[in-house]
Amino acid sequence: MAIECLVLGAGQEVGKSCVVVTINDKKIMFDCGMHMGYSDNRRYPDFSLISKSGDFNNSLTCIVVTHFHLDHIGALPYFTEVCGYNGPIYMTYPTKALAPLMLEDNRKVVDRRGEEEQFSSEQILECMKKVTAVDLKQTVQVDKDLQIRAYYAGHVLGAAMFYARVGDAAIVYTGDYNMTPDRHLGAAQIDRLQLDLVITESTYATTYRDSKYAREREFLKTVHKCVAGGGKVLIPTFALGRAQELCMLLDDYWEQMNLKVPIYFSAGLTLQANMYYKMLINWTSQKVKHTYATRNAFDFKHVCSFDRSLINAPGPCVLFATPGMISGGFSLEVFKQWAPYESNLITLPGYCVAGTIGHKLMSAKTPVRINIDKDTQIDVRCQIHQLSFSPHTDAKGILDLVKFLSPKNVILVHGEKPKIAKLKEKVQSELGIQCFDPANNETVSIPFTTHYEKVGASDALLRSTLSPNLKFLRKCSEQGSDFSDLDARTKPGLQVFDDRMAEGILMVQRNQKTKALHQDELMAMLGVESHEIKFANCCPVDIANSDTRNAFLSQPTVDKSFWLHLLFEKLSSKFPETSIQDCGEHLQIESFYVSVCTKEMCPHRTASLQCMPETVYFCCTWTIADEKLAWEIISVIKNLLLKEE
């Protein structure tokens, strides 16, 4: 058995996240995104790989969408409405609320560009009807075997990591996440789980970000400097996420510095988004929740909505405009107007997709001439500031999360190929975890060798597990042992064990339920008796020539206990450390029994001597555990009457 991971998108690239994971015949699709850089069929994942016949309803168990960004949800209406998937879809409440806005917005942009429409507004709504909303840490039983659970991921409002479990195989798909909190969202939060696989994003696989305070300070300083010089600041952002964070930052700063320069929010979408934030306050950071009692942190004091006529109004201002990366729309329009002036400032998001104007600006040095399309060229003279704010975690964060979860395997997706490769190296060398970085349409199969079976435990086993059974092992410190021997150095001298869990015995019988038993029960269960192997030897001692014989032979009724007693004394002196029990009829040392043999023909007698009056026979029995001891004793017995010189 294995966990199979088919990467349909975001394999060694950023965009159209889509991973189909098969665990024990359950197929879960995580995310269903579209690629923003393409407008042909490459923009959607190649769904045909899931099912050649196109029967997605039977081949997929469910779809899980982590958050509302288009590269994670963009292809969903296409998949449900066009490809005809009708099965269950899960996402968090905020995602369900905000996704239609994003999809609709994108549909309009595509529409405006005059491209072929893939799905209509109605289809978006239709698609959203099929979605089941889930809450954080709510365990959803998708079907009899499959459980999923959402964990807070930071990143954007409503973003979640998903835990999925089939039987004993469990995985976590992170989606996009952030390990440090920002102004409005918290940090990712997950339990320590027993996982076979973690599929994590790795957008910033090689970036190590500095303290966020430094970044904030730098951003504020730049903006302040610009508006103080009478310039206009353009902040192209996406409607949700960075816009709110930066706006909170600026709003606080304005308050603190008592600035009067207006801050504008461009179109309706952003203001509407703020409304959603206000409603979904529970999904924001601790700080926002905390201040909520007194003031909603999204009621910005210094922010007003923008009017197109204000573009060329005199005086400084700060403007948030969509979309980010200046790929078109309103931000492009303002960009054209403001870019040629040196006093103005444009802040770029931390990451711009290749092909957008943002991407061109990122690598350029002003002044520069930029081709917007075939006909338009713009001389960019304004200052350009690249934001290092990002809702994605950096390499340290990824490693921290993986280390915390300590899964058996890691798959890296959602990142650029060379960077992913470096991170993969690091995960394997630093954390010692098997790591994969599949390309699109590749399948990673994670062997899953453990065989799981339901086992009933017997009462005796359960009872024994109730009482502790502690064992302490003191390890002798090996002095002067090899220094490179890590194990010896790292293990403490005294170790403690509680053996009750290890004491069970697994019994597998054909046509019967597998059972875990207590070891004492085994015999009865198998219907066998326990056999013990015993050794025996009837050892002759010749008393014919000894002094003792002379002393005692005259008394014919020499008591056999006399011989035993003699032996006892001898043994006591020979083995001062072992305890010897004198039981009258016999002596006992551990499992070794010895008694004086009075039988005429003892079967254990080796020497075929006849029973002579001058010989005393000692009949010995012992188990194999004490064999060494036994032979030592026997040698004592043989020399019982020899004088020691």
Binding site: L193, K212, K287, G493, R500
Partner: protein, 934 residues
């Protein structure tokens, strides 16, 4: 009515095994009713007992009955003994199902803690003293019972040697709750016992390290605490280099937990980091940087201290993560431990200050306060390099909306050392802005300005010169002094002349006269430092001299004394220049110098309780500073007034004791102690304290009852400290000593009708507890330690009659070059010039002479012989010294000692020497002797 109900209950119990709710309520009503008679209740208890003993009743019944028993014990304490016996019997009963055990145990525990066993009770009456019961229940089947037992480990008298392995074992329990309480037990245990077995410490530590990866959050949390505490023991156990390595390893191990997903774990982890007392600098620096620092080799071996070797990269960025955390609890904790750790490395402090400055803009007030505290701490401990950029960011807090933040910010600013005029100006401007926006801060702000001016005297002059035009009355002759800014500048101006820097200060004298016009306002602000009259005297003095620089002759640091003293010095100066008009008011006070000294002492004594609060908070730096200043002041005052010698000597000794106590405190404080001292230091400190106290007790006469009481209390404190931190093994003997002192305290209080202090009352209670119960030693020690918290120094007012018993010993014209002649082997007479102060002839004085410290010869000084019982007795005494060694040259160490007459215990048993303990009255003198050279 009552009987009727009782009968009903009896009937129900006898008939029905399954008790209906109605009957239970009925029984409960009887128990809770204050009118129920004793016989009713006792009969009810009997019924309940029978029900408990009935082997047929099941655990639901047991639960109900036991809850009734519990409420009975709660409402009627006189039944507790009986109840304990019953419940105990129930636990021992073989028929008791294991599922009922934990109910019984909880009843037992709650009844037992509220109970004081009467004297004479044997151990067997206390069920918690039964070790075998504890063990058998622990290893029994009931998980709930095990949980209760382990959680209340400290209440049971189990030998630590047994308890430790049991707890360690249960960290393996499959139930997370048990693992958690077992770890908590280990933490508790680590504070009470001395473990001598390194392998045992290691196994506890490593087991906790393993559990850092537990799946259960509370277990991980307890594991972090355990790693911290047992790591501490492990570090203490190691020597030198390995100690350092070990401490580093513990640090890194804890760092690995600061990225845990559970908020509480992060808080605990940072708290634990703050407690670490030794960390390498490069590791500290790594906690501020994400990339592995070039200095650090990843494969560097951090000792053998963890199951999975911690890598230093685990520590990377730890503090920044903590300070960026979403939860203010974590940020505060991180900021605090950062504060603690800055003490170890200047470089770390330099790098950390940047990020701490960011914390000043935090949303949470608690975090901001902690950040300010951190900055202040760094400034005080001289680890803060104030740069202009940093100052800019810091000064913003002066305009914070929260007044406690503003106040903390001002305090922090005051403790900073501003390096140049520009910075000082920056700070000043921000303070002015603060005053402008928040006029309510005026008084505090003036005070800070005054202090700031004193520490930065050289900048004040130039500032005042720049703003002088603002202060001058405008042309129309109106003095515009009513605005706060002007007054603030005036305060700054007058502060400079008392600055620490003894430069000629160039503040124009007009400033002082202008300041007089705002005397009320200023003196209100400075009321802690100086009273209105002295301020006026000072201002009027300064304003008269055009070129005088007060700072020329102002020294010292403690404001209260300094100003008062400065007045005094002022008049001296004036005397010389015979300016009678100035001195006349001050002459009066010269005459009253005696009063002056006593008033100084009074102030100091009054402040001691404040100081004590500081000690309790662990701010030893400030305390020592202040105490030292006071002492210096005293040393100056002594010269002027012989009659106050006694008071001053007493006070300075007292201050010394307080200082020593402070050091002890900083040593035992659970957090906040920065460096690790060995146990030896504590011993030395306590030894010194005892010595001082002895001296104070015997070398002063005329102590009032209050003062004696206070001394006794400090003795008690020292005993308790000793018993609870040093002599745990010698418990009973030390306890006896405490008892003796307490009885003396009681007597004194009775005589003087003085109330016992809380500390003594607490101790009394404790002692009777300890005497009556049979707690284990470490349990008792724990209790005693708790009692330390109650101690606070008594407010004492020294009466004027304190006399200091003192002696001076001198040999005329004897030094290294002029030795006395002697013939080796023959006795030699040494002519001593002895001066005795305040010694009455009844005192038994001895001259002690020793050659090399080991053989001492005592010579009795019979004071009657010398006659007179004046305050000062002066005479010459020729003392014979018999044991001259066979050398050409030797020196004798000579001292005068007094027998402690009231000390009952005879310690010495020389044939002809002193019988009791000796107190030395003078410093050791050396007498040089040499065989005459022919």
């Amino acid at each position: 009515m009552e009987e009727q109900r009782l009968a009903e209950i009896h009937q129900a119990f006898s008939q029905n095994h399954n008790l209906p709710n109605k009957i239970l309520n009925l029984a409960l009503s009887l128990i809770t009713s204050p009118f129920s008679s004793y016989s009713t209740l006792s009969s009810l208890l009997d019924t309940l007992t029978i029900c408990l003993q009935n082997p047929a009743s099941d655990h639901t019944n047991h639960h109900r009955v036991l809850s009734l028993v519990s409420s009975l014990s709660h409402h009627h304490p006189h039944f507790r003994h009986q109840i304990i016996t019953i419940v105990r019997a129930f636990i021992y009963l073989p028929s008791t199902p294991s599922s009922s055990l934990h109910y019984a145990l909880s009843v037992l525990l709650s009844a037992n803690t509220k109970l004081n066993f009467p004297p004479g009770s044997t151990e067997t009456t206390d069920p918690l003293a039964d070790e075998s019961l504890f063990l058998s229940l622990c290893f029994g089947q009931s998980v709930a019972a095990r949980c209760i037992l382990l959680r209340n480990v400290s209440k049971f008298c189990v030998r630590p040697s047994v308890l430790l392995p049991v707890l360690l074992g249960f960290t393996r329990d499959p139930y997370p709750k048990i693992r958690e309480v077992a770890l908590d037990g280990l933490v508790e245990l680590s504070n009470c016992i001395m473990v001598e077995d390194q392998s045992l410490i290691e196994s506890c530590y490593f087991r906790a390290v393993e559990l850092l990866l537990d799946c259960d959050d509370p277990v991980r949390r307890s594991a972090v605490r355990t790693v911290s505490e047992w790591g501490r023991l492990l570090v203490a156990f190691n020597q030198d280099q390995s100690k350092k390595e070990c401490s580093d390893a513990v640090f890194i191990q804890l760092c690995s937990m600061v990225r845990d997903m559970d908020m509480k774990i992060r808080v605990v982890a940072f708290d634990a980091l703050g407690k670490i007392r030794m960390v390498s600098e490069d590791i500290l620096l790594q906690t501020l940087s994400k990339r592995t620092l070039p200095k650090i080799k990843e494969d560097r071996y951090y000792g053998q201290f963890t199951a999975k070797l911690p890598k230093i990269s685990g520590a990377a960025f730890a503090f920044v993560h903590g300070l960026e955390d979403e939860f203010h609890e974590v940020r505060r904790s991180a900021c605090h431990s950062l504060c603690m750790l800055t003490a170890f490395s200047t470089e770390f402090a330099r790098q950390a200050v940047n990020i701490v400055m960011d914390m000043l803009n935090d949303d949470s007030v608690v975090v901001r306060l902690q950040a300010l505290e951190t900055v202040r701490y760094m400034a005080i401990s001289d680890h803060l390099m104030v740069e202009e950029t940093i100052l800019h960011r810091f000064l913003g807090t002066l305009l914070d909306r929260n007044d406690s933040i503003r106040s903390a910010a001002r305090n922090t600013l005051q403790s900073m050392k501003l390096q140049n005029l520009a910075m000082f100006r920056l700070g000043l401007n921000s303070l002015m802005k603060n005053l402008e926006f928040y006029p309510q801060d005026e008084a505090d702000l003036f005070f800070i300005l005054f202090k700031l001016g004193r520490t930065h005297g050289k900048f004040v002059g130039s500032i005042i010169r720049d703003v002088f035009h603002e202060l001058e009355p405008s042309f129309d002759g109106k003095l515009g002094f009513d605005n706060a800014r002007t007054v603030a500048l005036l305060v700054l101006g007058i502060s400079a002349s008392v600055s620490f820097e003894r430069q000629i200060c160039t503040v124009p004298p007009q400033i002082f006269s202008y300041a007089v016009t705002e005397l009320g306002r200023i003196s209100r602000a400075l009321s802690d430092v100086v009273n209105q009259n002295s301020l006026l005297a000072y201002l009027s003095h300064c304003s008269r001299f055009t070129v005088v620089s007060a700072s020329e002759f102002f020294k010292g640091e403690e404001p209260a004394l300094q100003l008062e003293q400065s007045d005094f010095l002022l008049c001296q100066k004036s005397n010389e220049s015979s300016e009678a008009y100035l001195t006349s008011p001050l002459l009066d006070y010269l005459a009253n110098l005696h009063d002056r000294v006593t008033s100084c002492v009074k102030i100091v004594l009054r402040k001691i309780s404040d100081i004590w609060r500081l000690i309790e908070l662990g701010c030893m730096g400030e305390v020592i500073q202040t105490l030292r200043n006071w002492k210096e002041e005293f040393s100056k005052l002594t010269n002027y007034s012989p009659q106050t010698v006694g008071i001053l000597a007493f006070t300075s000794k007292y201050i010394h004791v307080i200082k020593l106590l402070g050091k002890v405190w900083s040593h035992i404080l659970p957090s906040g102690n920065l460096r690790y001292h060995g146990m030896g230091v504590l011993e030395v400190l306590l030894g010194k304290i005892d010595e001082r106290l002895q001296e104070m007790w015997y070398r002063f006469t005329g102590l009032s009852r209050e003062e004696e009481l206070h001394l006794l209390e400090i003795m008690l404190l020292s005993c308790v400290l000793r018993i609870s931190y040093l002599e745990t093994c010698n418990f009973d003997a030390s306890l006896k000593k405490i008892c003796t002192i307490i009885s003396r305290v009681e007597n004194l209080c009775k005589e003087g009708a003085i109330e016992l202090s809380n500390f003594v009352i607490d101790l009394q209670k404790l002692l009777s507890d300890i005497g009556n119960s049979s707690y284990g030693v470490f349990e008792n020690v724990h209790l005693l330690r708790k009692s330390l918290k109650c101690f606070s120094p008594r407010q004492i007012v020294l009466s004027g009659e304190i006399k200091h018993l003192e002696a001076e010993l001198n040999v005329h014209d004897n030094d290294f070059q002029n030795p006395l002649p002697f013939v080796s082997g023959l006795p030699v007479g040494i002519p001593f010039e002895i001066t005795l102060y305040n010694l009455t002839p009844e005192k038994r004085l001895w001259l002690t002479m020793s050659v090399d410290g080991n053989s001492t010869q005592f010579v009795f000084l019979d004071l009657h012989e010398f006659g007179g019982c004046d305050e000062i007795m002066k005479f010459t005494f020729v003392a014979p010294f018999y044991g001259t060694p066979r050398v050409k040259y030797f020196s004798l160490k000579v001292r005068i000692a007094m027998e402690c007459l009231s000390e009952g215990v005879r310690l010495f048993n020389y044939c002809e020497g002193p019988k009791r303990e000796l107190i030395f009255l003078c410093k050791e003198n050396e007498v040089h002797l040499s065989t005459p050279i022919k």
